[in-house]
Symmetry: C2
Subunit: 144 residues, 2 copies
DNA sequence: TTAAACTTGGATAAGATTATACAGATAAAA
DNA sequence: TTTTATCTGTATAATCTTATCCAAGTTTAA
């Protein structure tokens, strides 16, 4: 569904969101420990998220990554997916056809439509705050 | 969503299904032409489909691939996906966690549940005959 | 001002997926 | 029985994804 990079990106973003709500800045080292991801690869992904304005970085000593408190509820999952995987996840043809649309559909076009729409809706309407709160309350987890 | 190999596998299976309904055997060369896929790679995928009992091969001169007429409506998409991609598409955690379940869910677990179920249902209930008939009637396409 | 802690960017490597090529096996048909 | 058309299996290459490493730049705090 998502690439490995995108999985890490979402997990990292939720972890950063949780800490940002608590006023805490987090280092990439801490992030990769807490979401159980390869440190160097995770750092790369964090940079991509910064470039795409999903998270902010604070350089220098005692720096790290954060999301402004008032922005945590504004960041939607779709922004993260789009930043890392582009829009192939919820756009494009299930069978890989270049030009697949209502006029010239692939045989699965109609059958996939609703699933795609549901997926897109979910990604568009789910924000980092609700996910971070589930993490905080202990009703959801980011590793193992 | 699906791997490239799986996309080719589904397209090839639908094309074979259509021809099998018409009593025609098709060569891998013809298949890759009609579904616009790399010939050698497609041949590999066809072999995998034979091994997994999705299609049958007829060896020797004027051989090719087919599906028994009475089986065309019995082959479900999920068999093809499972044969090529395994079950990662409709099983496993959206965020890549090893052990993600109702007891220890990832933050997206609940939100993904319905989408996964819908996808699986669709794959379980869609058979090659209906897809082949759409192709035959000209209401769906397999290339461009 | 200097050292420490951190982010940034580039080079590189390991692994998986996608793709090709070809020799050998198989079976129909001439 | 020989030719021909085809599937099958192995070896190999190209490309993309995943992952690591390190040097350089940035900023805080001592």
């Amino acid at each position: 569904m998502f690439s490995k990079a995108c999985e890490y990106a979402i997990r990292a973003s939720i972890f950063i969101a949780k800490n940002s709500l608590e006023g805490q800045l987090v280092s990439p080292k801490k992030i990769s420990e807490e979401i159980n991801s390869p440190p160097a690869f995770t750092a790369k992904i964090l940079q991509a998220l910064v470039k795409n304005n999903v998270i902010k970085s604070v350089k220098g000593a005692h720096g790290g990554f954060k999301i402004e408190k008032e922005d945590v509820s504004k960041v939607k999952l779709i922004q993260i997916v789009q930043a890392i995987d582009g829009d192939k996840t919820f756009k494009g043809c299930a069978l890989g056809l270049e030009k697949c649309d209502e006029q010239q559909p692939c045989p699965l076009h109609t059958k996939f439509k609703d699933i795609r729409i549901d997926l897109r809706d979910m990604l568009e309407h789910t924000n980092l705050k609700e996910l971070a709160l589930d993490l905080k309350s202990g009703s959801a987890f980011l590793k193992i």
